[in-house]
């Protein structure tokens, strides 16, 4: 489904990785490991199309993602270090507006359902400014739940989450795999997720 061919990445004068080759299939989970500064985030950003590699290509169903452009974006959900949560908007507004912007608007009832899933029902009308770091992360995670993307690209999803929320995100990822999705997850800890196939990709 997703194919990385001879990817290499240069930051400044430093080469982070070179000639990286791997594939991701439906139902597959890729655990991306590596020390700080090994290029995990850069790789993820290349894979979701935000960054261009110094060399190499990323193919989606055999086509280069650069020529697919927006069509590829529809198949991918990316959750980076930042939550893309607006301080001035309430949790509910954040969810509804960001869904609308990405092209599938939610009714209030649907939005409430999504917020309930991440445990933010009580906070739904609070401005995001007053939410805790973990709650903001949960709010950011709603982006995954309401999108119908096949491929999830997640950067350090488990940081700043308490154990309940960690379990929650494991649950989401497992569910996503069951439905035939795929995920690439950069992480420092073991994910402990039961997916049909788990691969580990180590950057040095």
């Amino acid at each position: 489904m997703l194919e990385a061919i001879n990817l290499s990445c240069v930051r400044g004068t430093r080469r982070l990785f070179k000639d990286l080759n791997f594939t991701v299939e439906r139902g597959e989970l890729i655990e991306l490991r590596g020390p700080n500064g090994s290029g995990k985030t850069s790789l993820l950003r290349i894979l979701c199309g935000l960054a261009t590699p110094a060399a190499g290509d990323v193919l989606w169903d055999g086509e280069n993602i650069r020529s697919l452009a927006e069509n590829y974006s529809a198949a991918v959900a990316y959750l980076g270090h930042q939550n893309a949560v607006k301080d001035e908007l309430t949790a509910m507004e954040n969810l509804k507006i960001s869904s609308g912007v990405s092209g599938h608007s939610l009714s209030t009832a649907e939005a409430q359902e999504v917020l309930a899933k991440v445990g933010l029902t009580q906070q739904q009308n609070l401005p995001a400014r007053v939410l805790s770091a973990g709650q903001r992360r949960r709010l950011g995670m709603t982006r995954l739940l309401r999108s119908n993307a096949t491929l999830w690209i997640l950067d350090e999803v488990l940081t700043s989450l308490d154990s309940a929320a960690m379990d929650l995100s494991r649950e989401f990822i497992t569910e996503h795999m069951k439905n035939g999705g795929a995920a690439i997850v950069a992480t420092h800890q073991d994910l402990n997720i039961n997916a049909p196939s788990v691969k580990r990709l180590q950057l040095t």
Binding site: V10, R11, G12, T13
Partner: protein
């Protein structure tokens, strides 16, 4: 099989271009110096004194070529930056960066000489005539490009951001030029035109000789500058150690 065909791709790699550029510099620098001396000779000793402006008109032998080269280099800079961005060609982006400094210097020279010329011709140091004003704006465009590039630390982003700015600028130059022309024709201030005197053939000769000198000089200087940029950017590449040694 065909040895005569030059492999351009080979020289698009900084490692191969670096020594080539070193060899090419004298090929442009020497003719430039010769043309400069010839042009200066014709300009000062052959060209007649203008009956209206006296000797002061002679500054145009520097002013006009500098203005032309300054404008021409902006277009070249945009083309190189565009190629570097579209084809991910590092060398082209380095060329754009090298050209920007030279172009800005020529534009500056043309502004200063224009102002020096204005003093005897109009009695003031600065006149808002269309050409001087457009040159000033061109200078602003160069300043924008150079300061954008120098405030971005990541080289790749600097190259590509510069390319967007240069291309936007080059599309705007004709619009700016036209609007300034129009503005000038409606607010008629100083009426003495610089073109009010007839140009003797020897004057034209001097001007074109110096234009050639400026043009060859820019090529030589850009090549020298691009070598510096290559050395700076590729200092960690293995070939660099050999080339410098």
């Amino acid at each position: 099989m065909s040895n005569r065909k030059i492999n351009w791709y080979k020289y698009a790699a900084p490692a191969n271009f670096y020594p080539l550029a070193g060899k090419m510099i004298p090929l442009f620098a020497v003719p430039s110096a010769i043309l400069f001396i010839l042009g200066m000779y014709v300009g000062f000793f052959v060209a007649p004194t203008d009956f209206q402006q006296g000797e002061s008109y002679r500054i145009l032998f520097i002013h006009v070529p500098a203005a032309w080269v300054g404008m021409f280099l902006y277009v070249m800079m945009a083309i190189y930056a565009g190629i570097g961005w579209a084809f991910n060609a590092r060398l082209a982006s380095m060329m754009a960066q090298a050209i920007s400094t030279t172009g800005a210097i020529f534009t500056f020279i043309s502004l200063v000489t224009g102002s020096l010329w204005g003093r005897p011709a109009w009695g003031v140091w600065w006149v808002w005539d269309a050409r001087l004003t457009s040159t000033l704006i061109l200078m602003f465009l160069y300043i924008g490009f150079i300061s954008l590039q120098s405030s971005i630390d990541d080289v790749r982003r600097a190259d590509r951001a510069g390319a967007v700015l240069a291309l936007v600028g080059v599309i705007n130059v004709p619009i700016i030029y036209f609007s300034v022309q129009w503005w000038n024709s409606l607010h008629q201030g100083a009426t003495i035109s610089k073109n009010s005197f007839k140009m003797a053939p020897s004057m034209a000769t001097a001007m074109f000789l110096l234009l050639g000198a400026c043009w060859l000089y820019s090529i030589a200087v850009v090549l020298a500058r691009v070598r510096y940029i290559i050395r700076e950017r590729e200092q960690e590449a293995p070939w660099m150690a050999e080339a410098v040694a």
